[in-house]
Structure formats: structure tokens, C-alpha cells
Amino acid sequence: MDWDWDFVRQILPTLIQGVKITILATLLGSVLAAIVGLGIALARRSPNKAVSRSVGWVAEFIRGTPLLVQLYFIFYVLPDIGILLPPLVAGVIGLGLHYGTYTAEVYRAGIDNVPRGQWEAAKACNLSARQTWSHIIIPQAIPPMIPALANYFIAMFKETPLLSAITVLELMNQAKSVANTYYRYLEPITLVGAFFLAISLISVVLLRWLERRYGKIER
């Protein structure tokens, strides 16, 4: 089967529709993952053993099971108990929860990397816990985390094709439907692959820059 540029031109608008949804899902998922991750990281540092242990186990469970099955769970099981979610919302929640457990580790490492002396100095300056976090710890912990966080957001971007399994009309699903309509798989699937490859090659460059800019920990 030969590559057909006319066919490519014909299907491109449909694929671009899909690209928009893919990017939307990635952005929303990233925001959710950043928030969920922070929540998990803070809960795991909780002095209350019951909270930190149980959150730790739940995070471990989510990290040890496939995203696809979690998406099915959110999309098919939750309606049984009365929570009916549109596909895209279910997808974003799935992505956010799954990658939240990964970003939680990034936050944990970032917070642990703030030297002990900073905590002690904050205490010596008579700062409250809240002031310590917002003025001393977080501003120092965030910059070294940025490359690692970006890494996970890129990974999430590459996982978005899974959303097609719960009927989100993102790029992969559009490509599949186009392929099924015309019974030509070569162009749509190759274009999807090329698109993801292009974005991820660009993001490698971006990541290198982020690492140079923020990756160094100043001591």
C-alpha cells in the first residue's frame, strides 16, 4: 500500500480536531496531577500515622495498576454508584490521579532536598509553620522540581491515546475512526505517530533548557 498525500490532506482537518482534545486533556490532566500530587505529598508527611500510611498505600496501589483499567473503572464503575461523568472529564480525572501519584514523589524529593538548616533557621526566626512553608520551603523546593514535573507531563501527553478506549474523541480515536471509514490504516496511524514523535522531540529540547535553568540546586 502506498502513501497517498491527497488522502492525508483530506483527513488532516479531522485529525486536528483530535489534536485539540489531546492537548486539552493533557493540560487539564497536568493541572490536576500537580494538585493531586501536592495533596498526596503533604498527606504523606502528616504527623498522623493513619493518614500518611493509608494515603501511601492508595498511591502505591494507583501507581501499581494500569491507567487503562483505572480509566475503565472511572468510566464504567462510577456510574453504578450514581456518578455519571462525560468521557473527557473521566479521562482527565484518570490522568490526573494516575500521574498525581508520580508527581507526589517529585514533590517529596523536592521538599526533602531543602537543607535541614533552612528549617532550623525558620524556627530560629520564629516563623509559624505556615510562614515556613510559604516563604522558606516551597520557594526553594519548587525550582529543582520543575524539570521532573515537566517530564511527567510529557509522559502523560504520550498516554493520552488511552483515552480513546473510553470514547474520548482525541487524536488516536479520530485516526482510528478515519482509518475504519476509509479502511486505510497507513496514513492516519503514521501521522499520529509522527505527531507524538515531533512533540516529544521538541519537548526534549525544552526539557534540557528547563534542566539548565532550574535543575541546579544552589547550596
Binding site: P66, V69, Q70, V77, L162, Y185, I189, T190, F196, V204
Partner: protein
């Protein structure tokens, strides 16, 4: 009351397929990881370029797209693959690309003095690698290989979308036949998690075994 025992047998069959895929995929991934990881460290530009292209390509596109490419597009250019072959191929090549970077990093983490000692002992490049560098580097790789194997296990769920009867696929079958979503999906989530725990336990005990007698030798 639904006859759950029959359905549970179905899910167990799926678990066997998942385990089979994970094992075969891991073997392929391990081979690819060493080939590409060593390729990136090669003296020869061609080998380095080939290895880099392989790694960037397979890390740059998602496993889902690669699987669809292997299953739907390769037949068009004359490679007819069964779903199982396509699954093992895509999983092994994808995870192999990630693991290749682990191999490279681990080999590079071995200190200069070890290389110098190899030269002092008049070992050839290959001999030094085989008897001195790799045995030490392998211990560094093991924990990350464990994580990679868990990633591979999680990625196997995607093969259900090319009609391979793995855990996720069987859960969908049970869902379609019984109309119950909670039981099948919860069951397979737990099974995936147990498999992930088994992998991390196996890798940890392997690590302990291989690290025996190395106390004080490694820094």
C-alpha cells in the same frame, strides 16, 4: 445471583496471558536494552546514531500508537503479526528503549578507576566490560529494571485493544456478559497490583542476592 466461579476462571485465563506477555516482553526489552544501551556507548558513530534513533523513536511515541502501528500498519508492508506477536514486539521495543538509558547510565556510573584497572590488567574492551564493568553496573540497573518491568506489566493492559485476551480484555468480556462493572474491574485491579508487588519483591530479593559479599566494596 451470577455464577461468579466461571467468570473468575475467565479472568484467571486473562491473568495467564498477561503474565505471559509480561515475561516475553521483559525478555525482549532486556535484550534491546543491552543492545541499545551498549550501542550508545560504542566507539563507532553509526552504532551510536542507530541506538539513539531507536531510543528516541520508541520513547517519543506512546506504546499505544506503536502497538497499533505494529498490528495494523505492518501487515500492509508484508509483516503479518498475530496479536500476541504484535503485543510482545511493541511492549519489548518500547520498554527496551527506556531500559537502554538505564543500562547506559549504570555503565557510566562505574568509576574511572575500574576502567583503568581493566587496562592495567591488560583486559580487552569486551573482556573488561564482561567481567568487570557489567557485573557491577548490573546491580545499579536492577532497581530501575524492576520499575521498568512494572511499567511493562501496566502497559500490557493496552493489548486488550487489539483483541488479545489479557486481564483487561477478559474483564470487559465479563462486564459485557453480566452487566456488572464493579466486580470484574476491582478484581483485575487487585490482580495487577499483586503482580506488581510480586515483581518488586522478586527484584528486591535478586538485588539482595547479587549484592551479597559486596558490602564495603561499593561506595
Amino acid at each position: 445471583m451470577t455464577q461468579w466461579s466461571g467468570y473468575f476462571g475467565l479472568i484467571l485465563q486473562g491473568a495467564l496471558v498477561t503474565i505471559e506477555l509480561t515475561l516475553m516482553g521483559s525478555v525482549l526489552a532486556l535484550i534491546m536494552a543491552f543492545l541499545a544501551g551498549m550501542g550508545r556507548l560504542s566507539r563507532f558513530f553509526v552504532l551510536r546514531a542507530l541506538a539513539t534513533a531507536y531510543i528516541e523513536f520508541f520513547r517519543g511515541t506512546s506504546i499505544f500508537v506503536q502497538l497499533f502501528f505494529a498490528y495494523f500498519v505492518l501487515p500492509l508492508v508484508g509483516f503479518e503479526l498475530t496479536p500476541l506477536q504484535a503485543g510482545v514486539l511493541a511492549l519489548g521495543l518500547n520498554v527496551g528503549a527506556y531500559a537502554a538509558e538505564v543500562v547506559r547510565g549504570a555503565v557510566q556510573s562505574i568509576g574511572r578507576e575500574q576502567h583503568e584497572a581493566c587496562i592495567a590488567l591488560n583486559l580487552g574492551r569486551w573482556q573488561g566490560m564482561r567481567h568487570v564493568i557489567l557485573p557491577q553496573a548490573f546491580l545499579v540497573m536492577l532497581p530501575t529494571f524492576g520499575n521498568n518491568a512494572i511499567e511493562l506489566l501496566k502497559a500490557t493492559s493496552v493489548v486488550s485493544l487489539i483483541s488479545l485476551a489479557d486481564l483487561t480484555f477478559q474483564a470487559q468480556v465479563v462486564r459485557a456478559q453480566t452487566g456488572n462493572t464493579m466486580v470484574p474491574f476491582t478484581t483485575i485491579l487487585v490482580i495487577y497490583f499483586i503482580l506488581a508487588l510480586l515483581i518488586s519483591w522478586g527484584v528486591r530479593s535478586l538485588e539482595r542476592r547479587m549484592a551479597r559479599g559486596l558490602d564495603g566494596v561499593r561506595v
